[in-house]
Each structure stands twice: as C-alpha cells, then as structure tokens.
Subunit: 333 residues, 2 copies
C-alpha cells in the first residue's frame, strides 16, 4: 500500500494526498479530514509517504537491465546515472538476465535497498506477450515504488512506460527502401521482445502497404554477433537487395556478408540498422540506422521521476516518441 | 575495524582469525584465546566477522565504474554480474564519473548498502599519479570491506589489484611495428590514467630499444570519439606510417583518417587498437587490437572475492596478466 492506494481509497488525486501530507493551504477542510481519516484507518507511517513524496527518502533510484554488455542498455544507464546524480540521487543498478526468475529476484533485491523509484530498461521486461502473468512482478513492485519502463509496455497502476514508436519507424524505413526500388527485403532480429514484435509488425505493414507478399523466409532470427550473422547469411545465401535489422550489430553482419560476397553496399545491397550506436560509425561504409531516442526517453523518465517524488501526480502512464532515421552510407537515400 | 584489524592486533593471519571464528580444530588453544581476547577487548559483533567471512551477510558485492558507456567497463561489469549471480551474490553498481568527489561519494553510497566486497573497475581509480592522497578514499573503504581494483594500482591493506601488463603489451606491439619496417609511430590516447601511463611507457621503451628518438609530437591526446579523432588528425595532418591507440574507438578514428586521405590500411598505415571490443570487428578493415584480458581479470577477481568471503586469506595483493595481440586486417603481421 502506498500514496496511490490512499488516493484511491480517499477518492481524490495523488496530488491532493500530497498536498494534505505537505500541509498545503489549497485543500478544503472536508477533503483534508477525509484523507487523514484514511491514512489513520490504514495505519500508514510517514515513511510510506516519504517514499512517494521525496521527503526524507534514501534519494536512491534502482535501475534494472537484462545485460549491460548491450550498447543500447549501456547508453540508457549511462544517461540515467548522469542525470540522477546531477539531481542528487544515487543509482543502484542490477543486471537481471532474460529469465523470469532472474528478473523477479533482482527486482526484489533492488526493492529491499529502499529505493524511491525503479526503472526497467528494455522491452524484455514486457515479456513475450504470451501471458499477462509474466509481468505480474512488475505490478507487484509498483505497489512499493513508482516503476518506469524504458521502451517496454506493461499495463498497471503506478507503472509508467516511455516508448519509442518502433513500429512506425520500421514501417517508414522499409517504406523508404521500397520507394527507392528495393524489392527483396530481409528482416533480421535476435529477439522476440515487445520492441522486436513492434518492429516486425512495422515491416509487415510496409510490405503489405506496397502490395508485396509477406513470406516467412524474409524474417530471419539470428545471434547478435557480427561474424555470426555474416556466417549465417553465407550459409543460407538468401536473395535480397535490402536488409533491415533490429540492432546495429546484426546489420553490420549483413554488411560483412555483402563484402564477403563481393556485393556493393548500397548499390547491390542497402542495409539499415537500429539504435544508432557507436558500431554504426565504426563500420565502413558507415551504417544508416534508426535512432531509437534512448536519450530522449531517459530524459523524460528522469523528469517524471523527479515530478512524482515531488508529489506531482499528473504523469501520463504511457508516452511514445517517434524514432528517427539517421542516413549514412549503407543506403542510397 | 574488521577482521583484518583483529588479525593485526592478534599478530596472526586473517586465515587464523577465520578459523577461530569458525571453530576450526586447526588452531592451538593459545592462539584461540589470544584472538578471542582481542575480539572481546575491541567489542566486535559477529556481524563484523560475517562481513569478512561470508556468514550471514547480505551476499552483495558493490561495483564502481567511472562510466558504463565505455565498452571496456561494460564488458567487465557484465562479466562480474553474471558470475557473481551464478555464485548467489547480488551486485549493485554505481557510476562515479571521473572526479574525485564523485568517486568518494559513490564509494560511500555503496558501503552504506552493506556490501561484502567492493570492486573498482578501471585505472582511473589509481588517480593521476600526482599524489598518494588521491586514493585515500580507497584505503578508507578497504577498512570496511575487501577492495578489488580491475586494471588499476593502489597500495593498501585489504586492497587487491588485478592488472593487465599494459606496458609490456604496448612495448611488444610497437616493437612489432618497428620490426616490420614502420618508422613513424603515432601514439594516441584520451587518458592520463595509470593504464594510459603504462601504455605510454611501453611505447617509449620500444622506441628507445630501437634507437628511435622520442619526440613529443609522436604522442597525441584526443577525445575518444571516432569522428573527433579522424577530424583532429585531418586538421594537424601528421606524417606517420603506424598508429597505436589506448582504445579501439581512437584507433578506428585513425583508420577513418587514412580512408579520408586515400591511404591504404595496412599498406600505407598500420593501426593497432586496445581492448579488443566489438568496435574492432565492426570496423573495415577489421582492427588489430590488444586484448586487455578483461574477462580473465574479472574471473580472477570473482575467485578471489569468494575465497576471501570464505575466510581464505592467501590472496596476493597484486597480480598481473599479460595482454594479447589479436591480429586482424589493419596490420601486416
């Protein structure tokens, strides 16, 4: 139970509960006594409020990532850490891996450290989409502290999702390839996460929009290691004149495949990556990539955490930012 | 005060204190009563021992990095997290930045979370080498928990350094370039850390060993961003036929410079990076790089932490592993 439950039981907004607890003048006497009655009935200690309101807290935010060796996760964590530090908050980070057991255990560990808010980075925390129970631990966690998910979607009280519109970004990227005369698109992914499913859906929408039959063999599941992708493509030798990937490392594997086969990039083969990481710039030719706006989503998350911890309850449960195509040398547009 | 102080006051080894506390038979009655007397005199609680001995602890290890956006740090943290989790330990990570204030504050924060051991990742924690006081906070921390430093050197009780022999690795790499006919070596770095100083010393030793005059303009300080390095080199247009860098990102900047100038790699210009990151494989031609053995240093650290927390005191204060040159396509050997 927390400030959100009290707001619900009192039939008022969280902002109002916050005002009551802070002794603000802007609350009617009737509302004030109703809220205070609920507080007394439910036996809340001031600490419960402190947790929700930023008064006398540990000033610590927990961050959970599946793995920090992924450049997207590392970029997000780096930004969150920097900004939270600037605002006087400590961060504690834990890596959960991709298993449900690991995710649950690390979430509990972070909650036990008296954190004021919890940030999950990556769409693996949305689960596989197969059952709602997969994400129950996130809704449970959200009863103890506000929960943010960066680029993942989970529905629940006190759960806030900050997303990149991966579906539209991918639809537009594939649409651009088709508009520039590419006919055989290959879609490469290493994941079945929420984000990967959105990207897949965007690709299918673009193909359907152009009247191109969607065939299973256009969608390949691979490791996210440059040489592994290259060797996999060499082994199956698919016919394609454009590749889109759900991560830059995978896309660079396709570039290496082209180089191995003597195909020109982008002449014979266009390639578009995702996440606009430093790998995209290391590659030669430099890789066109979709910027998934990690920094923007993190900035929004920080602003929202600070607002919530200062008692502002007017935070949208979900917000979506557009992705952005960064054109470099592996496309001809 | 902790188990190490008790060992010192009792005039016995930490292993002996551990045996006394664990009720081992292998301690003489005289030693046992001496140690127990000290324990009583100093008023230690069992928790203090638990911290040192792995009994009833929080099973949590703190990890400090300057920034997680650096691939070397991310690789180390990823490995440490994975392995500590396998052994039933939680990790909490914090990013300190590079300032002394940030390092001290985050160290205190981690110590306040009841950690069993503290791992500092990166040679920035060795300080600039200008004064011993810079690293006093590490020796202070080591009074509360065993401290490990990955690829940094700090002298102190209960401080354990796990290093890569960067000096020798760089001396051998530059030696190989000279042996293969290169004459004008450029050394590129973004850092003045312990590790960067060791690499610089190794380069100088190789040059001197070959009777080549060491000139200031052979050593360039740059940002660690691929395009920034490329543009810097284009702006100063140095004459060189080989470049060595203290990180792969910097080295790839030199490769991009060569491509911009129409120079062939490795024909006109050999390039060697450092850390053998995924950037080295993303690059084309793929980058020869010195593997600084992050995984090996981390594995040793994990083994040592587990040994210490189980009461084994026979851990060397310092160990050094050789680096390893991974030859790819930016060198002709």
């Amino acid at each position: 139970m927390n400030i959100y439950d009290i707001a619900k039981l009192s039939g008022v907004s969280i902002a109002t509960v916050s005002r009551v607890v802070n002794g603000s003048e802007k609350v009617s006497e009737k509302t004030r006594s109703k809220v205070l009655d609920i507080i007394r009935q439910e036996g809340y200690t001031p600490n419960v409020f402190a947790q929700g309101l930023g008064i006398g807290t540990m000033h610590t935010v927990g961050i959970l990532v599946p793995t920090i060796s992924d450049q997207y996760m590392a970029k997000c964590v780096s930004y969150l850490e920097d900004q939270l530090t600037v605002h006087g908050y400590d961060c504690i980070l834990s890596c959960s891996g991709f298993s449900i057991e690991g995710k649950e255990a690390r979430t509990q560990m972070l909650l036990s450290k008296h954190i004021d808010a919890l940030v999950f980075v990556g769409s693996t925390y949305s689960g596989s989409g197969e059952s709602v129970e997969e994400t129950d631990y996130i809704r449970e966690a959200a009863k103890q502290a506000p929960v943010f998910i960066i680029n993942g979607y989970v529905k629940g009280d006190n759960v806030f999702c900050r997303l990149c519109d991966d579906r539209t970004a991918m639809r537009e990227a594939v649409g651009a390839l088709l508009a520039h005369g590419r006919k055989d698109i290959l879609f490469l992914t290493d994941s079945r996460s929420y984000s990967a499913r959105e990207k897949t859906a965007g690709c299918i929408e673009a193909l359907e929009g152009a009247g191109i039959p969607v065939r299973d063999e256009m969608f390949l599941h691979t490791e996210n290691r440059i040489h592994a992708v290259r060797d996999y493509l060499l082994s199956i030798n698919p016919v394609f004149d454009a590749a889109v990937a759900t991560d830059d490392g995978i896309a660079i594997g396709a570039v290496k495949f082209a180089q191995e086969k003597g195909l020109s990039v982008p002449g014979d083969l266009c390639v578009i990556g995702y996440n606009n990481s430093s790998l995209a710039v290391a590659c030669n030719p430099e890789l066109t990539s979709i910027d998934s706006r990690a920094e923007l989503l993190c900035r929004e998350t920080i602003d929202n955490i600070l607002a919530i911890l200062h008692g502002d309850a007017s935070i949208p449960a979900c917000s979506i930012q557009p992705g952005r195509l960064i054109s470099r040398k592996t496309t001809d547009f």
